[in-house]
C-alpha cells in the first residue's frame, strides 16, 4: 500500500484510550501501590486492635488514610509529567498522533480512579468499624442521616482531589517548559494558580448561582447510652464557586497540556 494512501487517524479511539489508561493504571512507577498497601495494612491492623482500643477509637483512626489521599493526588499529578520527562518516555508520548491534552487527561483519570478506589476502601473499613460501634451504643437510625449527605460529601471530596491533581500537573508542566529555574517558576505558578483560582472561582461562581446548593446533614449526639438522641442540622454549601473552581481547573489543565505540547522541549 502506498504510504500516502493509508488512513491516518488522529486523536484517541476507544482502543487507544484503553491502552493509555491501562498503561497508567499498571505502571509501577507511581506511588499508588504503596498508598493502597499502607491503607490496607492500616485497616487490618485496626481490626486486630479493636478489642484493646475499643470500637470508637478504632473507627476514628480508620479514617486517617483519607488524609493521605489529597497529598498523594498532588504527588501523582506532579509525577504524571515529571516521570515521563525524566524517563525519556516523553519522546514516546509526544510523538503519538494524539492531542496532548488527551494523553494528560487519561493520566488524570487514572489518578482519580486510584484515589476513588482508596477512598472507597477507607470509607468501607470505617463503616464496618463504625457499625460495630453503633450497635454497641444501641443507637439506630444514623444511616438515615449519613446516607443523604454521602453524594454531596463525595462530590466535595472529588472536587478537592480533581483540583489538587490538576494544579500539581500544571506546576510540573510549567517546570518542564521553562529552560531555567524551573522549580522556582513552578512554585510561583502554583501560588499564582491558587490565588487566581480563589479569585476566579468566586467571580465565576456568580454565573452559576442557579446551580442548587449542596446540602449536607450535620448530626450531633446528645445524651448517653439508651437516652442518646440525634440532633440534625443542615449544612448548605454554595455550588457556584465550586463550579467556578472546577472550570478554572479545567482551564489550567488545558494550558498545562498545551505548554507541554507546544512549548516544552524534549
Amino acid at each position: 500500500m502506498a504510504a500516502g494512501a493509508i488512513q491516518r487517524r488522529t486523536g484517541l479511539t476507544g482502543r487507544r484510550f484503553g491502552l493509555l489508561l491501562r498503561k497508567e493504571l499498571t505502571s509501577l512507577e507511581g506511588l499508588f501501590p504503596v498508598l493502597l498497601g499502607v491503607t490496607l495494612l492500616w485497616e487490618l491492623f485496626l481490626v486486630t486492635r479493636r478489642p484493646t482500643w475499643g470500637p470508637g477509637a478504632v473507627a476514628g483512626l480508620s479514617l486517617i488514610p483519607l488524609g493521605l489521599i489529597p497529598f498523594w493526588a498532588m504527588w501523582a499529578g506532579f509525577q504524571s509529567v515529571r516521570a515521563e520527562w525524566n524517563g525519556d518516555h516523553a519522546q514516546l508520548l509526544l510523538t503519538l498522533p494524539v492531542p496532548f491534552w488527551q494523553v494528560q487527561g487519561v493520566k488524570l483519570l487514572a489518578i482519580w480512579l486510584q484515589a476513588a478506589l482508596t477512598s472507597l476502601l477507607v470509607a468501607g473499613a470505617a463503616w464496618l468499624l463504625a457499625r460495630e460501634l453503633l450497635q454497641e451504643l444501641r443507637v439506630s437510625g444514623l444511616w438515615d442521616v449519613i446516607w443523604p449527605s454521602l453524594p454531596a460529601a463525595s462530590l466535595l471530596w472529588g472536587v478537592l482531589l480533581v483540583q489538587l491533581s490538576i494544579v500539581a500537573q500544571f506546576a510540573s508542566a510549567v517546570w518542564r517548559t521553562v529552560p531555567r529555574l524551573g522549580g522556582l517558576v513552578a512554585l510561583w505558578a502554583t501560588v499564582l494558580a491558587g490565588w487566581l483560582g480563589g479569585r476566579l472561582s468566586g467571580l465565576l461562581g456568580y454565573l452559576f448561582q442557579w446551580v442548587p446548593d449542596l446540602r449536607l446533614l450535620g448530626v450531633s449526639v446528645q445524651g448517653q447510652g439508651a437516652q442518646a438522641v440525634f440532633v440534625r442540622y443542615p449544612i448548605l454549601i454554595d455550588s457556584g464557586p465550586l463550579v467556578g473552581g472546577l472550570l478554572f481547573a479545567l482551564g489550567l489543565f488545558w494550558v498545562g497540556a498545551l505548554l507541554l505540547e507546544r512549548a516544552a522541549d524534549v
Binding site: 500500500m1 500516502g4 525519556d88 519522546q91 510523538t95 522541549d265
Partner: protein, 254 residues
Amino acid sequence: MDERRPLATEPEADGRGAPADGEGRPVLEVRDLVKRYPGAEALNGVSLTLPRGTVLGLLGPNGSGKSTLLKSIAGLVHPDEGEVRVEGLPVGTATKARVAYLPEVDPYYRWMRVAQVLEWTATFYDDWEPDRAEELLQFMNLRRDQKVGGLSKGQRARLRLVVTLARNAPLLLLDEPLSGIDLASRARIIRGLIGQFRGGEQSLIISTHEVAEVEGFLERVVFLERGRIRLEGEAEALRVKHGSLQALFEEVFA
C-alpha cells in the same frame, strides 16, 4: 537552497487536516529554522527541502544540531523562528501520524514486553504493518516475550529500529540509529535497513556522525556544523569529487 517560494496550501495551524495533494510536493520543507537554548544556538537559520523518496544523510559532529533538527521535525522541539512542514502540513498532530521517529534514547517503559511495545505502536499508527514487524523482529533477533528492562543496550536499539521500520510512514527520521549496536552487527543492520526501506513511497533522514557505515545508502547529504548547514549536495557527486563521504566529512570537520 532557500527557494523562498510561497507554500501551496495553508492547512490548519495546529496540524490537523489532510496533507496537500501533489506528487511533486516535497515531503519535508524546513525554512530558516532557529532554535536557541540558554547559552547555545542549536540551529541557526537551517533551510532544507526533501523530495519524496530521498535518503538524506544528516552528518555532523556531536552538538552540530542534528538531533535538534530531527526533533523539530518530529514535534519534540519547538523552534524559536522559522517553520517546518511535513507533506505541506505544519508540525502538529497530523504530521505525527506521518512521521516515524527513531530517538537516540530509549523511550519505552522498562516494564513493557517487546510484544506490548509493538501493540502500542500498532494501536496508535494506522500505517503499522504487522507482517513487516514480525520479519524485522526475527531479523533483529528479538523475542516478543522479552522485557524491555531486560534487554541490552544493543537490543533496545534494535527494538527501536523494528518499531520505526515496521511503519509505512511517508517520512522516517532516524537519530543515530546505530548508536549502542555492536560493530559486528552494524553491517547486517544496515543491510536490513536498506531491505526494508521503500524508496519512492518513503523518505528517510538518517542522522549520524559515523559516516562510513551508512554512506553507501545515502542519496543526498547535509553537513551541519554549529547549527548551520556547512555543505549539502548529491551524495554520488560528492563521492566522485572527494573519494568518499567519510573523506569529505573528515575534510570538512577536521
